[in-house]
Symmetry: C2
């Protein structure tokens, strides 16, 4: 017996059983804001990570990759800091990441090599290890099962609000909870914003079950919004399973599928929270690509549209400039047949657009469908714009999300100084 | 006996012997602005073209590719229009491109299938063939050897000024002139602005000499600024050689090298004029990448830096945020060793920075070189910022140019409506 998962109000990475968190203001950010956080599991976790593909990897990424390679079944904690990315910091940076992990292990009273580390902020600046260590000590003193939201706050850089959620799933074998925190903001823009996320669950799992699951979930959520975001120096998504519920969702295929869906839903919620909080964003765009040769090809085409500055500025202007969308699709590096492409926009902006009549065709067979200009303009002027792009070739599908490119984005990033 | 080429004041595509041009206001643009142009050679030209790699190609691109495939040694004219790109217009668009070419051939009194066509503007809108035809008739009535600048004006979309230049080269066999016109503006931004350029020369040449030469010149100039610009629906660079000078630069290797340099210089001048006129641009960035495995790899890394929204916004803020530059380099998809990367900025902003002492090291061995903050800030606050990025791997070099990303870019592109 399984039912649909329940969304927990104020859910976070500490909603699953056996997880606690705390945060502190260590003086990295101005104004006494939370900037160091600690997540702790009362029992040992199986863990998996998905990391940036950028060849310039921050020290915490290198540290975590090595640690998860060695001891994926022995994790206990995640230490986080904002404001300093500890990237492009050479051998000293690696030592600093190790010192940060050791400080976390010490203040939490857990074994050596059981804490992962996450950093976000300015590149090329040395990590102030003493301050971070002092912050972790303070965070450890405040550990609580309500601490997940403060953990989310400590991760924020240009984010305007903390991002957190959790869902609870009733299975025949008992209740399992999945939660998470994330930060992103600028990160959904072309190139290299840092995206950090920590997903937690009290399910019983092994590292070898978690790794492929996390990869698939990230591709459909964080990698479907963070356009080129997998190319940051620090991008990291971690998944920790501590088994505190005693429920092993892998025991039968249908429970596993439901567990997978729950994790996907939590990750999607966090990913969309990042899009909505995009730097300077005033409008969100969902692009459903269908008819592609493969799911990966569909995602590539969606991303090419999502990262186009011309599409994003047209979106900012609420302008149904569909030609820019087709042109961006054509630049994705995916083989396509222009004369088979069709494009439609949801007529009921942000609504379900459940059937064909709710879609306004913009282009068919690669050229204009002569949409009613007022209807097209209304659809693009909504706070949430949904597009359906059919490549007419195969059965591959993917959904990608982005936001508009506003003048505020420029102001924020011209001012976010080194 | 050869000397350095001479830069011609007010030079353009009609500076080489035997070329005339004219333009007209056909009502495509508002305010009676020039929007249709015609370039004519009094004799038959050898021609070559470099076209967009976007799979969604505009009708004029498809038309020109076919025509140059069939008759590269029989060209006489180029017809141009702005405001309507004739892209994503299906079979009707192809008919319209053909009709535009035929109209040019008719008004110029030249043989069928001897006119190339260029369009730029909004995608997905039908080309108003009658207006363009009337404009070409008027342009033909105004053909003159001074008409090249008006031709450049007729190509403009969001460009704020016409782009044109010419250089004259004295060789042992006589004088050869190379000229050109271009449009770009928004085009140096990520994704798909349209870049159009027509290069002309009165040298004697064959299509098989011109095609590889143009490819190489475009890679080092227009493709080194128009980041992802080779992915527009309409991007086209044409080269026409009419032989009016009677000088065949291919007769000896040293004259050919000088001719090549002259063509490169004209193309570079036009490319840089596009960067300087970038939509909303306030600052220009030159990135010299060295130490790459190959020239192509160097260019890829340079482009990754040049298209990074975070680098471009930091540049807008005059902020020496060198970490964003290394992170962008790491995302280029080129194999590199982060611990070998060094980065420096020209101390004398925009100056020659001829030797090592003129460069301020920002990063060495992949991490900070602890530059003096005031000196770094002064270098990045200049109107022209020059970077030297050494990958420390091989001997491949390339230079790439870009401009900053300003709030004005957003305003311009949110308003440039479909």
């Amino acid at each position: 017996m399984t039912a649909a998962p329940t969304i927990l109000p104020d859910g976070s990475a500490t909603s699953p059983g056996g997880f606690v968190a705390g945060a502190a203001a260590a003086g990295l950010k101005a104004g006494n804001a939370l900037d160091v956080g600690l997540l702790l599991s009362t029992t040992t976790c199986a863990a998996a990570g998905v990391f940036t593909r950028n060849l310039v990897k921050a020290a915490p990424v290198l540290y975590d990759q090595e640690l998860l390679g060695e001891r994926p079944g022995r994790m206990r904690a995640v230490a986080v800091n904002a404001r300093v990315a500890n990237a492009c910091t050479g051998a000293d940076g690696l030592s600093a990441a190790r010192a940060m992990a050791q400080a976390a292990e010490q203040v939490a009273g857990i074994p050596p090599r059981s804490a992962l580390v996450l950093s976000t902020g300015v590149i090329g600046v040395p990590l102030p290890v003493d301050r971070v260590g002092a912050g972790l000590r303070e965070a450890a003193a405040r550990l609580s099962a309500d601490g997940g939201i403060d953990l989310a706050r400590a991760m924020m850089t240009t984010d305007t609000r903390p991002k957190h959620c959790a869902q609870r799933l009733a299975t025949a074998a008992g209740t399992v909870t999945v939660g998470g925190v994330a930060k992103g903001a600028g990160m959904i823009h072309p190139d290299m914003g840092t995206l950090l996320a920590v997903l937690t669950t009290d399910a019983v799992a092994t590292p070898s079950m978690l790794a492929p699951l996390l990869r698939q979930v990230v591709d459909r959520t964080f990698n479907a919004i963070s356009v080129d975001g997998d190319t940051s120096t620090n991008d990291t998504v971690l998944l920790l399973a501590n088994g505190a519920s005693g429920v092993d969702p892998g025991r039968d295929a249908s429970t596993w599928a439901l567990f997978e869906d729950t994790l996907l839903a939590v990750a999607r919620h966090l990913a969309l929270a990042i899009v909505h909080d995009g730097e300077g964003a005033t409008r969100v765009l969902e692009i459903r690509v269908g008819g592609a040769p493969t799911e990966a090809a569909a995602r590539e085409v969606g991303r090419a549209v999502a990262r186009s500055a011309l599409v994003k500025t047209a979106l900012h202007g609420g302008d149904p400039n569909w030609g820019r969308i087709l042109a961006a699709a054509g630049s994705a590096g995916v083989t396509l047949a222009p004369e088979r492409i069709s494009l439609a926009v949801a007529r009921v902006p942000g609504g379900p657009a459940a059937d064909a009549t709710d879609w306004l065709p913009l282009a068919e067979a690669g050229h204009t469908a002569n949409p009613d200009p007022d209807a097209a303009r209304a659809a693009f002027a909504a706070p949430s714009v949904r597009l359906r792009l059919d490549l007419g070739i195969g059965g591959g599908e993917a959904v990608v999300w982005t936001c508009d490119l506003s003048a505020d984005y420029v102001h924020i990033n011209a001012a976010y100084t080194s």
